[in-house]
């Protein structure tokens, strides 16, 4: 284990170009996927929390069930759509970063939505009601409610980030682990492990954890600053 830590430090500080590129690929793929998913999840979670509609219970149950899907199954499902043999094959996005984005958004959307929903439903209901009586438009109510629950919502987004930055099933099936293109830290770890390079695999894992920690730390710092 200590050998892996030493290897991780060595890889980071001798500036191994390929490791930097792989780490950067993991980071920007996950950040964009989470950003897109959050843009959809926040309004969706808000609607579920604050409005009652028919089939609401079933929708919540469905979202919870989606979260139990293994990443490789999500990968397989999306593959069947975007493969050339599938209905969306003409887009030609299989084995490109865009395919990974698509799969990762599908992965973290249910998670972030259900966490946002539970965060917002715990807020004082009188806030949105008061805002409406004061004449606020719907987007204003949305904005103020999100602001009020921002700490819990940040947790939701970070959970989504954690789910996608550490997953391998989607990145492998949809990205193809192509060197210098769609190879992420997770697919690189899977590759090195399959070659018996356990120490290198662990070292890459340590780098992945460091990135996840840095993102968490930075975002928490930003939110705290806003107070």
């Amino acid at each position: 284990m200590l050998g892996a830590l030493a290897e991780a430090i060595r890889l980071l500080f001798t500036g191994d170009r390929e490791v930097y590129f792989i780490a950067w690929t993991s980071l920007h793929l996950s950040l964009v996927s989470v950003a897109v998913a959050s843009a959809l999840s926040l309004p969706l979670g808000f609607l579920i929390a604050l409005k009652s509609f028919r089939g609401k219970k079933q929708l919540i149950a469905f979202l919870n069930a989606l979260m139990a899907l293994p990443t490789v199954v999500v990968g397989l499902l999306v593959y069947s759509f975007i493969s050339r043999a599938g209905p969306l094959g003409f887009l030609g996005i299989l084995f490109t970063p865009s395919a990974i984005h698509l799969g990762q958004v599908i992965l973290c959307l249910p998670l972030i939505t259900s966490l946002v929903y539970s965060a917002l439903s715990r807020l004082d209901r009188r806030l949105p009601e008061t805002l409406v009586t004061l004449g606020a438009r719907r987007t204003e109510v949305f904005r103020m409610t999100i602001l009020e629950g921002r700490i819990a919502i940040l947790s939701a987004v970070l959970s989504g980030f954690g789910r996608v930055v550490g997953e391998v099933g989607v990145a492998m099936m949809l990205g193809g682990n192509i060197r210098w293109y769609t190879r992420t830290l997770t697919t690189a770890i899977a590759l090195e492990t399959s070659k018996g390079e356990f120490e290198l695999g662990l070292a890459l894992g340590i780098i992945l954890m460091a990135i996840a920690f840095a993102v968490n730390f930075t975002l928490h710092g930003v939110i705290r600053h806003e107070r």
Binding site: V32, V36, S83, R84, A85, G89, L91, G92, I93, L94, F95, T96, P97, S98, H101, G176, N177, I178, R179, Y181, T193, S194, K195, G196
Partner: protein, 268 residues
């Protein structure tokens, strides 16, 4: 202001989502081929010369050919002659060429409980392993190696089953690691074995049987069936792999001083 940002965001996403496809050539191959390190020396001169970027997608043989059958790749390099012939016969591939060969070997514990060391007949060796119920790890994943293993069991008149026979369902690397942990036997391709030799305690026990011959073929995905494939690029790659220069690179590729692949395309 907000509306402008929104439009910008949508346009940006659209631009990001639909990637440029020109100048890219998709090659599906097996994990053992990729892990040998051959492609890392064989492809760069090709990329420099043609300006093409080769995307190597390394998966199991079955999946590599399936990607060709779906038209998700432009060209495929695998080592399962029967499956390759069927791939071409069913119209998925065209212009199959022999590229190189290596061989399979039976590796196992130095203590050799089944007593197969030095045997020249792989079928008899496997029969002996089955009779002694010595631990054996199988790929179990329809890979070229697995197909070879199944053919050997069939020739030996043995249906392997029981606790001694472990079907791992994984790639060559993990299977060799597993065989090492169990100190059992396995059938491996020489390339992956050489790359992992320093990490495992499994000497070569059986080699040289002509049945263990492992030929590699490169096939272009049929453009008549899949008009979108980069057929020109695929043919350029096939030309490169079978050229005198490409074959020279293959023959010159050594791991630990040993040749991994023997070029087949150019005969003097």
């Amino acid at each position: 202001m907000k509306k402008a940002l929104l439009i910008l965001l949508v346009l940006g996403l659209a631009a990001a989502v639909l990637p440029a496809q020109e100048g890219r050539l998709r090659l599906s191959t097996t994990t053992s081929t990729e892990n040998s390190g051959l492609l890392a020396v064989l492809l760069p001169p090709f990329e420099a010369r043609t300006g093409l970027k080769v995307d190597v997608i390394a998966v199991g043989t079955g999946q590599a050919l399936k990607l060709g059958e779906a038209g998700d790749v432009d060209v495929t390099l695998v080592h399962a002659r029967a499956l390759e012939d069927r791939f071409v016969a069913e119209g998925y591939g065209v212009n199959r060429r022999d590229v190189m060969h290596n061989d399979f070997i039976v590796i196992g514990p130095a203590s050799d409980p089944a007593g197969v060391r030095g045997m020249m007949d792989a079928v008899a060796a496997l029969r002996q392993i089955a009779n002694r119920q010595a631990a054996f790890v199988s790929r179990g994943d329809n890979s070229g190696t697995h197909v070879m293993e199944r053919d050997l069991w069939k020739a030996a008149g043995v249906t392997p089953s029981g606790r001694w026979y472990r079907e791992a369902g994984q790639g060559m690397g993990p299977v060799i690691t597993m065989a090492n942990d169990l100190q059992g036997y396995t059938l491996a391709d020489r390339g992956t074995y050489l790359a992992m030799k320093s990490k495992v305690a499994l000497p070569i026990l059986v080699e040289g049987d002509p049945r263990l011959f492992n030929p590699y073929g490169v096939i272009a995905v049929n453009p008549a069936r899949f008009p979108h494939v980069n057929y020109l690029g695929a043919m350029q790659l096939i030309a490169w792999m079978t050229s005198v220069e490409g074959q020279g690179i293959i023959g010159g590729f050594k791991v630990g001083g040993e040749m991994l692949f023997f070029p087949d395309a150019v005969t003097d």
